[in-house]
């Protein structure tokens, strides 16, 4: 009896003692509340955004490869590859396209991360450092939106860190003009608040010059020549202070060991070899552009120029030699491109000096390099004042460097002949961009902003004829799942 009397209360005490609280206190993960205490915390989120930019679903593969394939400079190599890539290349994709459905979310994940950093910075005391961080995050946001708007036209514009995703389920698209204004506002803020030099000379983080540069590109895209010119001109005038100049040897631009802190890089996306934890730090371009089975690179023959790109390019141009491989070793034997699995010269810029492995390279990809600043200035100035000597001089600077054939001076390409007409000079700058910036994810934007699609895909001299091309194709379809989830985003872009 006594035992019984004692035992029961003991048991109940045990029961009550056991009613522990059921709150979760995770170790090893971070809760957003209370996270932002120092500038370092905000910087960590900004790094998160860079991580997402360098990831497989953005610059590492999907977005960048799509920009290449869309152009007339890069065609599909092996047509047994993913249909989504063929559709992007052939102008017959739809809202289910598996490249689009990867880089659209990736783009907005970058935006969301930047927005989180911007709001996180609000928790900090006001300081120059704080404003520089906000400027950096707004620069990243502008970068993501600038790509999005050129690919898709009117898009949903998100500028806050979203706490409840349901809250944005019914928003409408923001017109392009408004998005551009927001991009410009972000870049203006970045111009004001970013440091004059790249932090620790790291070109994968923006400086004041980077903001000027992207702004000049935005204005160039909008045809606002004065502003394009003035922003580019500011960089040219201050190049020495900003730490920008042309590399002496064009090839050096594509040697990974020389890329860190490279003076020509105005903004770069950085990879480090043997580091990827998929999908981060994942660089597929060496494999995408390489040829299968070669000793130099175990390529996948995906992004391969048409033969015309090679044959139409003057072989005296050093940049052709750097950009393309027309022979490669197979089992130690050098073979011409006619014996490649896809018998066309392949892009060599991203693997000829490969450091790391095919999908895990040490490449840095220039989003903007100083040569482009010069070409933007030349193009914009021509529109404002015609082919002035100043405008010609910018192109000649670029050409002069191209004449340096690995230390040996050649006489090709020659300086621009004075007396060239405005129209011819416009044409010439565009061609110069095509070759100087070949396979550097620029050509499609040029085709689009200059509206020369009909010409380059159907014209007699077209490098890569595409019967499916029409002006609707300047925009991609918005992912169908987005339209399904939010009908306010309808209609789909025309032609899809």
């Amino acid at each position: 009896m006594r035992l019984y009397k004692l035992y029961l209360p003991a048991v109940f005490a045990l029961l009550l003692g056991n009613c522990t609280d059921l709150e979760e206190n995770p170790v090893g993960t971070l809760a957003p509340e209370g996270f932002f205490k120092t500038e370092k915390d905000v910087q960590t989120v900004i790094h998160g955004a860079y991580g997402k930019i360098a990831a497989d679903d953005y610059w590492g593969r999907e977005l960048a490869a799509a920009i290449l394939l869309r152009s007339d400079m890069v065609d599909i190599g092996n047509r047994g590859t993913v249909p989504a890539r063929i559709q992007i290349n052939d102008f017959n994709c739809d809202g289910f396209n598996a490249m689009i459905t990867r880089f659209w979310p990736a783009s907005y994940a970058i935006v969301g991360t930047a927005n989180t950093a911007i709001e996180g910075a609000d928790f900090l005391e006001d300081s120059a450092g704080k404003n520089a961080l906000i400027a950096e995050a707004r620069f990243i946001r502008a970068f993501a939106y600038f790509n999005l708007i050129r690919l898709f036209g009117d898009i949903p514009y998100i500028e806050v860190a979203i706490k409840d995703p349901e809250s944005v389920k019914t928003i409408s698209k923001t017109p392009q003009a408004e998005v551009y204004n927001n991009i410009i506002a972000d870049l203006e803020f970045a111009k004001e608040n970013l440091p004059l030099e790249h932090p620790q000379n790291v070109r994968s983080r923006p400086s004041k010059g980077t903001a000027y540069c992207m702004l000049s590109d935005v204005y160039l895209t909008l045809g606002r020549w004065e502003e394009a010119y003035s922003n580019a001109k500011w960089i040219i005038d201050n190049a020495a202070n900003l730490g920008y100049e042309l590399e002496a040897d064009y090839q050096d631009l594509f040697i990974p060991s020389k890329q860190d802190g490279m003076a020509e890089h105005v903004f770069a996306i950085e990879y480090k070899g043997n580091q990827n934890v998929w999908p981060y730090d994942y660089d597929s371009h060496p494999a995408f552009t390489g040829m299968a089975g070669a000793d130099e690179i175990a390529g996948w023959d995906v992004t391969v120029p048409s033969l015309e790109v090679y044959t139409a390019w003057d072989s005296r141009d050093y940049r052709k030699k750097v950009a393309l491989a027309d022979s490669a070793h197979f089992g130690g034997v050098l073979k011409p491109y006619t014996e490649f699995s896809i018998p066309r010269p392949h892009i060599a810029k991203y693997w000829r000096f490969l450091s790391g492995t095919e999908v895990d390279s040490d490449n840095n990809y220039a989003v903007y390099r100083y040569a482009e600043v010069l070409l933007i200035a030349a193009e914009a100035l021509n529109e404002i004042s015609g082919p002035t000597p100043e405008a010609l001089a910018y192109v000649d600077q670029v050409r002069e460097r191209a004449r340096n054939w690995a230390g040996t001076q050649t006489d090709y390409p020659e300086d621009v002949l004075p007396g060239i007409s405005k129209d011819d000079f416009r044409e010439l700058v565009l061609e110069e961009r095509r070759l100087e910036l070949s396979f550097e994810f620029k050509r499609w934007w040029d085709i689009k902003r200059r509206n020369i699609g009909d010409e380059v895909f159907a014209g007699a001299n077209s490098l890569e004829p595409h019967v499916n091309f029409n002006s609707d194709q300047y925009l991609l379809p918005i992912p169908q799942t987005e339209l399904d989830l939010n009908p306010n985003l309808l209609p789909q872009n025309p032609g899809y």
């Binding site: 993960t29 971070l30 957003p32 991580g51 590859t81 249909p83 739809d94 991360t113 989180t116």
Partner: protein
């Protein structure tokens, strides 16, 4: 609680004494004393130590302990002499023997009632020291029974019956007990009591209605069950050697679906009870071992019985973990008495179930050159049959040694098992050591205690199969076997391995993959469970258990530079390791009360607390000086990859209870409930309540059924209730910033975080409401028994990763949206077709489950892409759609091959040439972008549709056992009907594009000269698409086991000191009937735990067929 105290003295006895008083007054001599028969106190064992008590007193106390009722002539009872009892956990038979000692009484037990009567023939007065010669005949309903073992209890002396069932045994103590045993028959113990002739009628050992069935937190008589419960016996579990007990459950119970998903030794089985009740969360049933929920499954040999709890009435007591059904495992325990030593062993020789017909060199070269003229030179190539190089004869050795026994105060069972399997693929091996020890103690009069320890170690030398993504450097051994060109030898002239290079992507050859890749898994399990049970008052019992489980595992992996995959990185090694602990404390009371012989109550209520903790860590590096380090010197690799580690913790706090009420043995009512609080649930929903109720009507007990003796059982059951699925993983309801690995800045890796998930404070469990109606019918004294159930199981609040507008920056958010239905029938029929010298017993079970997705987020289709990563282009191979079952295959409908002059349908990435793949155009969009359901003259994503259903129409198991004299023959078939399989492996092989080997279907490919075919032409420019071309009927009938055994005659083995010996030869998977052209229809690529990945096949390790010889010996 005070109110119970006055009754504490002898409440039961007072009632009983009153009855006895009444009886004295009656002239009716026969009185049945029916004491309460409760689920929890009903026990076969008696513990009673008393000297000189009356027989009446003895009976009352035995009644109390066992729940048996006595039926005795009052006069006899009065006349009986005093009784001396020394019983500790004694069987009822022993108890009665002691009671009868010296009395002129005999007894008979039938239907829970003990009939006592006067011994018919007055025996001569006997003395214990005299001996007699006994002879007689042992028979069953069909006459004399050959080979029945007869042992003098407590000795090793014995004999067996001859062909006519006759036996004789001499010089036996006159009061000895003879034990008559025969496989499949109930063992009988008969006291000689001086007789010289004892004839025995053996009874078939069927699943009797009086048999106890384990239910959650207790036991119940099978006849008192209101829920849907299937039992699997130890014999069925031991029918053939298995690497794990779950495997042995395959085909054994209706409603339980067990599927091998990969033949790799030691790999997991997919277990579903009444279908998958979740989409994104686990649908694995809860495994409860000796009361420990979530415990590790012991080996088949150590299991006494398994109960499968299926309906809500049976599982609601497990609340938030009950929705997927519960597998209750009872391990073996010791019995008091003589030490028993058992030794079981078997050896199996195994071979792969099937080989594929692949192209040999000559045809292969033709095929490749047809694809690309001149691709292969016109030289003499070797002809390597990679299947022959990679497959080997495997074997399984299995040994179990167990000891059991003990005294009435302490009983024990100790067992050790070694299972050692050499796989049918080179260098694949699985080994398991396990020990189980259990001790049960009678600590004091009212206090029982026990402890059980289970430890096991699994060692697996694996090989790469069912890879997520193949391609260069990552190919699995099976995919390399079937894809590699036959034109290269295994080794180069310098002794290094050749590689497959034809595709342009270099790939290791399968022999190199099998032999050189190091995959070592070690996993240890340690489980300890302690219980104490205190009988507070006769009706009230308290039981407390404390259990702990510790699991640890280590996966070591090394890819050496002798392989292509390792060469580019100079060797890659990694270790994944983790450990988890699970601690549980359960406390519950059980109260039983019967009122007026009519109302029988049984109540149970308790509290439990369980905590889970799991740790994981990973390290990897590359670029090693030497392959000799394997994965044991990761610091020796000069490139260290990002390490990772994690910790997750959760707790579960629960109150639970059950009420059983039985009215007049005919009307049964059960109510169960559990109130679970889980840390995994979101802030606003920490606690959940799961009630269930059931009623049953024992029609056979009704008086109007007395005239129908053919019906031995007829029970109708109905249950309804709610259970949950603790689907949420820890921390899933919280807003989190995730860390990003390998973010590079300034040429070094920097800390980086990004928003990972938003908070959902309302996230909660998935609830399943299940209704079940069933019938249990037994005819002709249970010679035919049938159980049929219909269930309707609706799961709501399904946890979905809700697609969010991607522009929100998040791709998805976990929400409780969605509903699913599982509905089906189950039949289980057992028949004794022939009884007698020759017996034939058949068990058949058939289950049909229909799964339907009732509601998806916003009603939208969810596309799933789980095709192997390197098979780029397949995209969205599966779809979840409202109104359809889960796992539907999705893609284009293949319409054969385009012929010259056909109208080629335009479409990006689609062929428009003769010999190309032709797909059906049946949908397009109108100007508003809406699908019209009509052909639009072009092929695009709109033309995809459901192209197959991996869910079977029904699954079944059929077991036939034949016995004749010492021989037993068992044939067990198992099958699945109406399910489709989708083979990514055949897609890659038979695409007729890509420079890899193909099946001989390639010989039937389209050429301008051979156009009457549905195999497209060889082509280099065909992209991979999800299409009906690679969807097959996956139905199969498989002879899982056939076994022929012989029980050696006792006379033969007695000399060796054995009491039982059986030898057998058996075969597993010897016969498979299927139309599936892949290796094996029993497959599911990465489907062991997934609800969506059903019926997919890629690079799977084929199952083996085996021939086994074995022996079971008992000393």
């Amino acid at each position: 609680m005070e109110q119970f105290i006055p009754k504490q003295s002898h409440p039961k006895n007072q009632t009983v004494i009153k009855i006895w008083k009444i009886m004295r007054l009656t002239v009716v001599f026969l009185v049945a004393i029916a004491l309460q028969v409760s689920a929890n106190s009903y026990s076969q064992s008696v513990t009673l130590n008393a000297a000189g008590i009356t027989l009446k007193e003895a009976f009352i106390r035995i009644e109390k302990q066992t729940g048996y009722s006595f039926f005795i002539n009052q006069e006899l009872l009065e006349k009986a002499g005093p009784v001396n009892l020394a019983l500790n956990y004694a069987s009822i038979a022993e108890a009665l023997e002691q009671c009868m000692k010296g009395q002129r009484l005999s007894y008979k037990i039938k239907d829970g009632i003990i009939y006592i009567k006067e011994r018919e023939r007055k025996p001569q007065s006997i003395r214990a020291d005299t001996t007699v010669d006994v002879s007689g005949r042992v028979s069953d309903v069909n006459g004399g029974l050959y080979g029945v073992s007869i042992v003098v209890q407590g000795t090793t002396r014995g004999t067996i019956t001859g062909p006519d069932g006759n036996y004789s045994i001499s010089d036996v103590p006159a009061d000895a007990v003879l034990v008559f045993s025969f496989i499949g028959m109930k063992t009988q113990m008969i006291r000689i009591s001086g007789r010289s002739n004892i004839d025995v009628m053996m009874e078939e050992e069927t699943l009797g209605l009086e048999e106890l069935v384990v239910v959650g937190y207790g036991q119940m008589k099978k006849s008192d069950l209101t829920g849907s419960v299937s039992s699997v016996t130890a014999d069925e579990l031991m029918a053939y050697p298995t690497s794990q007990a779950l495997q042995a459950l395959q085909g054994r119970a209706a409603g339980l679906h067990v599927q091998a998903t990969n033949g790799d030794p030691g790999s997991a089985y997919k277990i579903r009870i009444r279908g998958a009740s979740s989409v994104n969360s686990s649908s694995d049933p809860l495994i409860v071992v000796d009361g420990f929920p979530g415990a590790f499954m012991p080996a088949s040999e150590d299991i006494a019985s398994i109960e499968i709890l299926k309906d809500a009435s049976a599982t609601a007591i497990y609340g938030s973990r009950g929705a997927n059904g519960v597998i209750l495992v009872t391990t073996r325990s010791g019995e008091a008495g003589q030490t028993r030593i058992e030794f079981n062993t078997s050896y199996s020789a195994q071979n792969v179930v099937k080989k594929l017909d692949l192209l040999h060199t000559a045809d292969f070269v033709d095929y490749i050159n047809d694809m690309t003229p001149g691709k292969m030179d016109d030289v003499a190539y070797p002809d390597t049959d990679w299947q022959d190089k990679v497959f080997q004869q495997g074997n399984v050795q299995n040994y179990q040694l167990s000891l059991s026994g003990g005294s009435e105060q302490a009983r024990y069972y100790i067992s050790g098992i070694l299972y050692d399997q050499k796989g049918v693929i080179l260098d694949s091996r699985f080994k398991r050591y396990s020990i189980l020890s259990s001790v049960d103690l009678e600590v004091a009069k009212n206090l029982k205690a026990g402890v059980q320890l289970l430890a096991s170690r699994d060692l697996r030398n694996g090989t790469v199969t069912q890879e997520w993504s193949g391609g260069a450097g990552q190919t699995g051994v099976i995919s390399a076997t079937v894809l590699s060109e036959p034109t290269i030898p295994v080794y180069n002239e310098d002794g290094t391995y050749t590689t497959s290079k034809l595709t342009g992507l270099e790939r290791d050859n399968p022999v190199a993959i099998a032999k050189e890749t190091v995959i070592d898994n070690v996993s240890d399990n340690l489980q300890a469970n302690f219980f104490g049970e205190y009988q507070i008052v006769p009706n009230l019992k308290f039981r407390s258990t404390f259990g702990a489980q510790y699991r640890s595992s280590r996966d070591g992996n090394y890819l050496p530079s002798s392989m292509f995959g390792g060469r580019s990185v100079n060797g890659r090694g990694y270790i994944n390791s983790g450990r988890s602990t699970d601690i549980i404390n359960e406390n519950y009371f059980t109260f039983d009360k019967e009122i007026n012989d009519v109302h029988d109550f049984s109540l149970m209520a308790g509290y439990s607390y369980q905590s889970f903790k799991s740790e994981f860590w990973h390290a990897q590096s590359e670029n090693f000086i030497s392959d000799a380090f394997s994965y044991w010197n990761l610091g020796g690799g000069s490139i260290a990859k990002a390490p990772s580690s994690s910790l997750t913790e959760s707790t579960l706090s629960s109150f639970y209870g059950r009420v059983n009420y039985i009215l007049s043995d005919r009307y049964l009512i059960t109510f169960n409930a559990r109130y679970d609080g889980s840390s995994r649930f979101a802030r606003n929903n920490k606690w959940a309540f799961f009630p269930s109720g059931a009623i049953a009507w024992n029609i056979a007990q009704e008086s109007f059924m007395e005239g129908v003796p053919q019906v031995s059982q007829l029970k109708l059951r109905a249950s309804y209730g709610m259970t949950g699925n603790q689907a949420i993983e820890p921390y899933q309801s919280l807003a989190l910033l995730g860390t990003l690995p390998s973010v590079v800045n300034n040429n070094s890796v920097v800390n980086a975080v990004a928003p990972q998930s938003d908070a959902n404070d309302n996230l909660t469990w998935e609830s399943t409401v299940q209704a079940d109606v069933g019938i249990d019918l037994g005819l002709f004294d249970q010679r035919i028994s049938l159980t049929a159930d219909y269930y309707h199981k609706k799961t709501t609040d399904l946890l979905f990763s809700m697609p969010l507008p991607k522009y929100s920056g998040y791709s998805s958010m976990l929400k409780n949206i969605g509903a699913m239905l599982n509905e089906g029938f189950e039949f289980n029929v057992s028949t004794v077709n022939v009884e007698g010298n020759f017996t034939w017993v058949t068990d058949l079970n058939i289950s049909r489950n229909r799964n339907e997705i009732l509601e998806l987020p916003d009603g939208r289709d969810i596309f799933v892409n789980v095709s192997p990563g390197h098979l780029v282009g397949i995209n969205n191979s599966q779809i979840l759609r409202e109104g359809q079952p889960m796992g539907q295959f999705y893609g284009y409908v293949y319409d054969g091959v385009y012929q010259e002059g056909d109208d080629f349908l335009p479409g990006g990435g689609f062929e428009q040439v003769a010999g190309g793949e032709k797909f059906r155009d049946f949908n397009g969009k109108d100007v508003n972008g809406k699908l019209t359901g009509l052909p639009d003259g072009q092929l695009n994503a709109d033309d995809r549709t459901i192209i197959g259903d991996p869910n079977p129409d029904f699954t079944w198991g059929l077991n036939n056992t034949f016995k004749y004299k010492g021989f037993d023959l068992n044939i067990f078939f198992q099958g699945s009907q109406g399910n489709d399989l989708y083979s990514f492996m055949l897609l890659e092989m038979e695409l007729m594009s890509g420079y890899n080997n193909s099946t001989v279907r390639a010989l039937d490919r389209w050429t301008p000269a051979h156009t009457d075919t549905d195999v497209p032409a060889a082509s280099t420019s065909r992209s991979k698409k999800s299409s009906s071309r690679f969807v097959y009927d996956g139905s199969y009938i498989r002879m899982k086991n056939i076994s022929l055994g012989y029980t050696l005659p006792e006379s033969f083995i007695r000399g060796a000191g054995m009491s039982f010996a059986r030898i057998y030869v058996s075969g597993q998977n010897l016969l498979t009937i299927t139309d599936y052209p892949g290796y094996d229809p029993e497959v599911s690529w990465f489907g062991a735990t997934s609800n969506i990945n059903l019926g997919l096949d890629y690079g799977s390790y084929p199952n083996a067929k085996s021939v086994t010889v074995g022996a079971q010996i008992r000393f």
